[in-house]
């Protein structure tokens, strides 16, 4: 079936087999392998993408549901600052050592961006509640929480003269 959607800010028209997961479409057809698949059972959050701005698990979303929607993946974040520079949330993960192996990181960052967009000044408790669907086997979460605190501030700071 034909679907029309916006992928990382650009309109796309694709012919998809209905029984295709968005995680499969991204990784296998579109070669956007920044979206990771950890559990494939909607538990770990590694596959999190933004679907109309909402953080959702792409391993539990069907490609046909994309029709008419806007999808943002980890690859699309840096584009929002108009260059190859990292998104402020990615920068904050880098600065605050918010990753070790990095497997969970794309999902963490996408969840964090959705959270900080809706709640520009999140408390630590709000961040921890917001991360309940994202598992990390390495960091112990402490630096992820610190990254998101800093990233939220950076995302919502007025851009300084370029």
């Amino acid at each position: 079936m034909i679907i029309n959607f916006t992928l990382n800010g650009r309109p796309r028209k694709m012919d998809v087999e209905p029984a295709t997961l968005v995680s499969e479409l991204l990784r296998e057809t579109l070669n956007l392998t920044g979206t990771h698949v950890g559990c494939d059972t909607s538990q770990c959050g590694a596959c999190t993408v933004l679907f109309n701005g909402d953080a959702v698990k792409s391993c539990t979303l069907l490609a046909p549901s994309l029709d008419g929607a806007a999808l943002t993946t980890i690859e699309g974040l840096s584009a929002t600052s108009g260059s190859n520079r990292l998104h402020p949330m990615q920068e904050a993960f880098h600065e605050n050592h918010g990753l070790q192996c990095g497997f969970c990181t794309p999902g963490m960052v996408m969840t964090a961006v959705a959270l900080a967009t809706r709640n520009p000044v999140p408390t630590e408790a709000e961040i921890r509640h917001g991360l309940e669907g994202n598992l990390c086997r390495c960091t112990g979460y402490q630096n992820i929480v610190a990254s998101i605190m800093a990233g939220a501030v950076a995302m919502n700071a007025p851009a300084i003269g370029e």
Binding site: E17, A19, D54, S65
Partner: protein, 267 residues
């Protein structure tokens, strides 16, 4: 996944026509239960009838003395609805504890109620508030809707369109959650409407059930202390890796007291 056809009707009658005409077809809400089920090959539908493009199913409204929540209203929509917060704040608290943000961004009240998972949160609220499940053809009272483990009184091609919650004087929900999924190990919803009180328990038996002994005690005195000494029998309760039946029985009283305290605070 095995291949299937995908249909996106724009009206409820069109959805019904597809569901009725296409053999082995299934309704798709947020897919939070259905897609994992298909991935595990526990279901192999020939077609999915997506309800996402029927705008009417995503409405939240007040109609006389009831809060009416459309079947496709997502958990996040309940959490952020000023109307729900002002009429039945307990539902905001309940919805905000379901799963995680990504689950709340896709999962729906209609899908949750239709699925009737023994550990789901909404069935407790539906039963305690004496809600009505409105479908494409009739209105089903909560008391006859939940019939057993993943079983409801829905007919094969019946579509839930909304849930009508009579607005209570006050209500509270408390759950002891599984730390991994956040599903209820034991969840108790207590609702007071005028002089009558209903107590509904989820997570504990094959399906949600009421506790008449607690209801009578709370009708006399709406305080946690009124039910503190009521012991629930473990017979018939679930035993699994999360909790055995005796522990669940104990937790029912503990969670019921917390739910009453939450109701008194108007949460």
């Amino acid at each position: 996944m095995k291949s299937f056809a995908f249909h996106s009707p724009e009206t409820v009658p069109d959805a019904f026509a597809l569901l009725n005409d296409v053999s082995e077809s299934k309704l798709l809400a947020g897919g939070m239960t259905l897609l994992p089920t298909i991935k595990q090959r526990l279901a192999e539908p020939a077609a999915l009838i997506d309800l996402a493009k029927i705008p009417q199913l995503s409405e939240i409204a007040v109609d006389e003395d009831a809060l009416v929540i459309g079947a496709m209203v997502r958990h996040v929509d309940v959490v952020t609805s000023a109307l729900v917060r002002s009429k039945v704040p307990m539902l905001v608290h309940l919805a905000s504890g379901i799963g995680d943000p990504a689950v709340r961004n896709r999962g729906t009240i209609g899908g949750s109620v239709a699925n009737n998972d023994p550990s789901a949160d909404y069935p407790a609220a539906v039963l305690a508030l004496d809600a009505i499940i409105v479908t494409d053809r009739r209105e089903i009272p909560a008391s006859t809707f939940f019939t057993g483990l993943f079983e409801t009184s829905l007919e094969p091609s019946e579509i839930i369109t909304s849930i009508r919650f009579p607005i209570p004087s006050t209500a509270g929900y408390a759950k002891f959650k599984s730390p991994a999924s956040r599903y209820a190990v034991v969840g108790v919803c207590v609702a007071k409407a005028g002089g009558s009180v209903r107590v509904a328990v989820t997570g504990s038996g094959p399906c949600v059930f009421r506790v008449p002994e607690m209801e009578t005690a709370l009708e006399t005195s709406f305080e946690p202390a009124a039910i503190a000494s009521i012991k629930i029998g473990a017979a018939g309760l679930n035993s699994d890796i999360h909790a055995d039946a005796e522990y669940r029985a104990h937790l029912i009283t503990v969670m019921a007291k917390k739910a009453v305290a939450a109701a008194i605070q108007g949460l």
